[in-house]
């Protein structure tokens, strides 16, 4: 009899999750376009944070250049669509393949040659920068002038080509995020998940228990990269334009790690809670400033920095573990 993976979550937690899901499903009928776009952003960061969390939270490898996978995914899917008319869901497969290959390359270089810790982080930054500058110079990919997707009218929802209204994008992102959650849960509860945690805790001890740490670290990197590429595909088709300077920039990389760090590295719900908090609060702040007639570019980033600082100093394990304890949902396992 296969074990029911849901049995692991406490009953109260499952109920809360179900309620949250119901609310999120009903939201487009209750809220306006503005709220919808904010939520799309939240779900996007929840998804991409979840993907990053696999590499860092589960396998302990700090990637500060994760934007490279978003960019590779975005450009791959966009190019296939613009030049060959290939729909995003097929293009996504190519995007995943390319990003996974890039991740495998970075992982291979890093793990075979013992590049770890800060060196690994610097390596990831350098690769992302390399991609940024490289794509800037590649004219056939749009270059610094940008790659544009043909924008269709928003009245018709074309899921196959991802052309349509914010509501369509919302549901697509919701499904993707929910799927990511389920995937991460299944991974965490599998042998792979446990092995990742062992490697994160103490790699040498893990090896002494027969764990091929190279293989499992590579797996984490490849899965993380591939998943991030899906977000890249969404990014391309939602925003309809790609500039290397934007897509690969280090601030994108920093942005996408805010959610999981603030929410809680290595936890299942951390990235989601983090994304809600970060994007939600920063939107509120922007609106507050706007109501005073202030438009301060950079204020949002200062806010992010301050939140990161606050979390690192006061709640180092993230907001979610603290919240879960308060809600009576915590389990002893990390």
């Amino acid at each position: 009899m296969p074990r029911n993976p849901l049995a692991v979550l406490p009953r109260r937690g499952l109920m809360l999750l179900a309620i949250l899901l119901a609310v999120l499903c009903a939201l487009p009928w209750l809220a306006g376009d503005y709220v919808l776009t904010v939520l799309i952003t939240i779900l996007y960061f929840a998804f991409v944070g979840q993907a990053w969390n696999i590499m860092m939270g589960f396998a302990g490898q700090l990637s500060l250049g994760h934007a490279i996978y978003v960019g590779l995914g975005a450009y791959t899917a966009a190019l296939l669509y613009v030049h060959f008319g290939i729909g995003p869901w097929i293009g996504m497969l190519a995007a995943i393949a390319i990003a996974a290959a890039c991740g495998a390359a970075i992982g291979f270089l890093a793990f075979r040659f013992g590049v770890a810790g800060v060196y690994f982080a610097i390596l990831t930054i350098a690769f992302a920068e390399f991609a940024r500058i490289g794509f800037d110079h590649l004219g056939f990919l749009g270059g610094s002038g940008g790659l544009f997707l043909p924008v269709a009218n928003y009245a018709r929802n074309d899921i196959w080509n991802l052309r349509g209204s914010p509501m369509m994008f919302y549901y697509v992102m919701l499904v993707l995020t929910a799927a990511a959650l389920v995937l991460c849960h299944l991974l965490l509860e599998s042998r792979t998940g446990y092995y990742w945690r062992a490697i994160r805790e103490d790699e040498e001890a893990a090896r002494s228990l027969g764990i091929d740490t190279f293989r499992y670290k590579m797996l984490a990197v490849v899965i993380s990269a591939g998943m991030t590429a899906i977000a890249g595909m969404f990014f391309a088709f939602y925003y309809n334009n790609l500039f290397p300077e934007q897509v690969f920039h280090v601030s994108r990389s920093i942005e996408l790690i805010l959610g999981p760090i603030i929410g809680g590295i290595g936890t299942l719900f951390g990235p989601i809670i983090g994304a809600f908090l970060m994007t939600g609060l920063s939107e509120l702040m922007q609106n507050l400033l706007a109501s005073f007639g202030l438009d301060v570019p950079g204020a949002r980033q200062v806010f992010y920095g301050a939140c990161l600082l606050g979390v690192v100093l006061l709640l180092p394990d993230g907001v979610w573990p603290w919240m879960a304890a308060r809600l009576g949902l915590s389990r002893p396992r990390a």
Binding site: S190, R191, E201, A205, A206, R207, S208, L209, G210, A334
Partner: protein, 242 residues
Amino acid sequence: MSALLEVQRVSKRFRGLLALDNISFRIEPGSIFAVIGPNGAGKTTLFNMIAGVLVPDGGAIVLQGQHIEGLRPDEICRRGVARTFQLVRPFPALSVEDNVLIGAMLQLPDVRAARMRAQDVLRQLDLFDKRARIAAELTLPDRKRLEVARALATGPRLLLLDEVMAGLRPAETDRMVSILRDLNRESGLTILLIEHVMRAVMTLAAHVLVLHHGALIAQGSPAAVVREPTVVHSYLGAEAVE
């Protein structure tokens, strides 16, 4: 009866220092074998070479007919050799049960089956009641037993223990000794220990090897080895031999 582990003319040099010089011995299956000697004798080097952390410069290490010298630590574990660390390294943020679970998963990929085996092992090591505790919170003796439990869960043919008695009080040492003796008696588990605590060596080991400055200076039953003049002179001191 063929040996479980054969160390054949193994040597190791660290730049100018010859840490181990042409060491050879055999470990029979089902026996408890101890390696003793003063600090710097090369015990840890020998241990690390069997465990796959170091590669010998010369010689071979053969596990039931298969060469294992130069293999990675995880490959060696998969061949049936488990080890503990001198400075214990449990997975600090994980529970006692999860620590052992990860060990059990080597042979049991299914999480549920592995968890059941982990619980069995915890019972053997007298840690079942503490299975939900976080490893970092345990006392040293408990952590040492956890380390042994975790290694044991991988289902090894040969268990390597690196100074597992260090830091334990006499009562705790006796407890660990009786656990190891039971394991050996009930399941025929072969054990190789590096030890300084003579109390444990005398009661546990059937066979003792003495190293000094990288050379093998004595080999035999504990009673015999302990009386050899070279051993007394270099390591034990006359007072230790009552």
